[in-house]
Symmetry: C3
Subunit: 368 residues, 3 copies
């Protein structure tokens, strides 16, 4: 606990500084934008996420910052709600657009222009979706990133000045093709269900949320979440594990599993439904894990649907499944939905809803 | 008429039993779930549908029951509205998910788990769509089935423990390919516009609503609808005929036509728009048949769009076209839409709306 | 100015005649339907559009008229709002369906039936989208045309009596394929960034809104818009230029650029956002041009997504991007959205909103 309280004290001090000093306020906004990639409205989480990216790749760290700056600046210039900007809601899609375009396209000067335009457009799409989804009080999630990136990546097939990288490969589909299911790294032959390979798959699944195929980045990302919420950190691990185990059960490609590709969408679904958009209870926890399992299957399905055009699934499986599992809202009496404006941390939400999801200790005070 | 009143007396007796006896209530709920595949909230219709499936295939009958049980149980566990559950609204998508997964995937123990998960998720998607569509008072139709099945079937390309069956075949498209238009069975060479071939196409079109490529299943399905509503039965036949004739007119593949593949979506569109979601009048009947014709063309179009990934169109053409033709609602003064909560049988709806769609005999009482 | 006032006097006279004489009213309705393809509710604009089509091709002119008549007649028969019909809102999708089916399919007697059915269905889809989008007060744009045409064109792969033309070509995608970027006509070798080639690309981009790959048609279309609104005419040119320059910057196929294929979607986006759905200000003008640039990239992306099935992008890039850029509405304080019912001409909208977008001359009166 002492390890956690130190960052918390620092956070309080920083929060005061960010309120009074405009430059610190901008830094705070940008860091929260990175933290929001995994629903963590916390500048320290954002800082650690950024560190985790740079540990793996300076190129992706720079692309993330470029996208972050462009999407946040676009929100200021267009006059979006300041409270939403300050919470980092116009940053996380820009971060992902920046990394994704650098990940899938060839490095080039024009790529920087492409990232700036894509990140700025992600802010427009974010506001479009906020308005579109408001009748149901539903969050836009990373849909702006997915939509913008799909269009911009597909487009480069037709361009000679912005070029696709080696990962853009349209594949003819063969349902009868054999799948190699041995859990192993692409580069090595050390295959099998070893503890080491499982640990890699588990943490890389968390790292892959931001395209970082790196064990230590995954560990740093987990610490970053832990700084803000133990429940969200737990569901990040549970989500990655759910993805990993589901993929092993159905016999998915073991190399993809090792590198966390079956985990990152399940991580996001588990965090979102595990105590954030529904109050955490045993029932909602099981519901979140079933959603994480289905997200893993949906990832395979969406990857197949996109295969003829060589596009990546990105976080579309997470967005689709989380929307589908969240839309029932009060239609399922076993679950208590949280209004989007009230989503803070899973801990605070649980404390504020003692009737169903609160801890036994807190409940008597509210009832008495 | 005497043939119809016997089932009706039995229905009344059963209805009382289902209210008082919990076990009978569960059976009643499940049977209505099967009946709702074609909008018939009637346990006898459901029983006959089930009989029709088993006449063709015990495997599909079992899969249908497994999906039905899983989707209905999920609705109970999650706390969905009891009245909706009792009307079978959380059963019909599960039935279709169960049959479809058994139809397109290889038989296997893991397939049973896959069906249970898919059917349970179809209940989540159903409640999601009920909430999503409520601002327009629109029905979810079989969209939960289509969406869930597409994702789960596409996914198995990537799995070695759940395998695609022989019907999952991605096809390279060739717009200049010649089409064989002779109306005939796959296995035989007895081709041509014979009465026998037309009868096969007509009834198999009704059977194919639940993937049953069988003349007698189609006949039993028609009797099952007739037990509940003569108007719906008539539109089932009219829809199948509209699909059949449209397909012959444009020169579609005659083998597909013989086996009812151009009929089943048109059957559903015709039943839905023929007196259920619009009050039956001459105008709405013509509107429903135009929609059935367009459904047939949309079936061909959606099949082509899905061809590169080898996925079946399922009932997506019906869902899309029925939504498009129903969404205008009061925007077209020639049609009188029925609130979704008031949809019972076409006969009762017509009797309740004498001003436009009622029989001439009933009208004076209301005007006088 | 004298050249402009003559048509205006004629317009006033015609307007009176159209009110009093039923036959003239029908002609007025039909001509406005053609004008609405580019948001111009003006019969003279419609007449000039029609002339521009016939200058290029009598076949497409005839197809446009057939689609126009079928979609407008369907709206009358179904009892759509008379004011909407009179404004041509049930005509423009029919015009585009008619031309597109004649453009992509082989000429045939059955094609006429296909056009009549497709255009009539576009009216149903139009009313469906009007209702669907009404909670956000969003326009349907040309989505009914795109959706109906995609289904009907894809379907003909499966038909032997309605056949695809030579432009329906599914292409295997190769991200590493080299792109020829020389700006030139398909038939000639006179390549390069010459003034002549740029002028062709600029005007053909306007002509291609209605599939007319013809310099003079583009010029006539521009005059047609100018007759109704100088601002819309300016944004048509700016949109085509934005598309052209963006395509040149990213290195798109120079033959496609020459023939205006990178221009027509940007033209529509620029007209829509340039003073019609947002009050014209410097900020909204820049916003509209950024949207036009992104539309151009989205065109390339959507074309790639549709490439495996050989379908054209049509105006889907315009519809998608305009929806995304319009949906933020009041979420961006830098922009002032115009209620859909108040959309007339950019000039009148600007005059009615002096606070933000009005001319400096008008502003003092309101402030004083």
């Amino acid at each position: 606990m002492a390890a956690l309280s130190a960052p918390r004290r620092a956070a309080t001090g920083w929060s005061r500084l960010a309120q009074s000093n405009p430059a610190a306020g901008v830094v705070d906004t940008l860091l929260r934008g990175i933290g929001q990639v995994m629903f963590q409205n916390n500048p320290l989480t954002g800082l650690l996420f950024l560190a985790g990216i740079f540990v793996n790749s300076a190129k992706f760290g720079g692309s993330a910052l470029l996208g972050l700056a462009a999407s946040t600046l676009a929100a200021y210039v267009l006059g979006a709600d300041r409270a939403l900007i300050r919470a980092g809601l116009f940053g996380f899609n820009g971060v992902l657009v920046g990394i994704a375009l650098a990940f899938f396209l060839e490095f080039d000067l024009l790529l920087a222009v492409y990232i700036v335009l894509g990140a700025a457009v992600s802010t427009v799409v974010m506001m479009a979706l906020i308005n579109l989804l408001s009748p149901w009080d539903m969050p836009a999630l990373t849909a702006p990133f997915v939509l913008t990136t799909w269009l911009l990546v597909a487009a480069v097939y037709q361009f000679s000045n912005v070029r696709p990288g080696e990962l853009i490969v349209p594949l003819p589909l063969d349902p009868q093709a054999s799948i190699q299911t041995e859990l192993r790294e692409l580069a090595t032959a050390a295959a099998g269900l070893s503890a080491g390979n499982l640990v890699h798959a588990l943490f890389r699944g968390i790292g892959e949320v931001m395209f970082q195929d790196n064990l230590w980045t995954g560990v740093i990302f987990l610490v970053a979440i832990l700084v803000n919420s133990r429940i969200s950190a737990a569901f990040a691990v549970l989500g990655s594990a759910a993805g990993l185990l589901t993929a092993l059960a159905v016999g998915a490609d073991g190399i993809a599993v090792f590198h966390g590709l079956y985990g990152f969408n399940a991580v996001l679904t588990a965090i979102a439904l595990g105590g954030l958009f529904f109050v955490l209870t045993w029932r909602s926890a099981v519901y979140a894990l079933v959603a994480a399992v289905f997200t893993t299957l949906a990832f395979a399905g969406i990857a197949v649907l996109l295969s003829p055009v060589g596009l990546p699934a990105l976080t579309a499986p997470f967005v689709l499944v989380t929307w589908l599992f969240l839309l029932p809202k009060r239609g399922f009496r076993a679950l208590e939905p949280v209004p989007v404006a009230d989503v803070t941390t899973a801990e605070r939400i649980r404390a504020a809803h003692p009737g169903k999801g609160g801890s036994p200790r807190a409940a008597p005070e509210h009832r008495g």
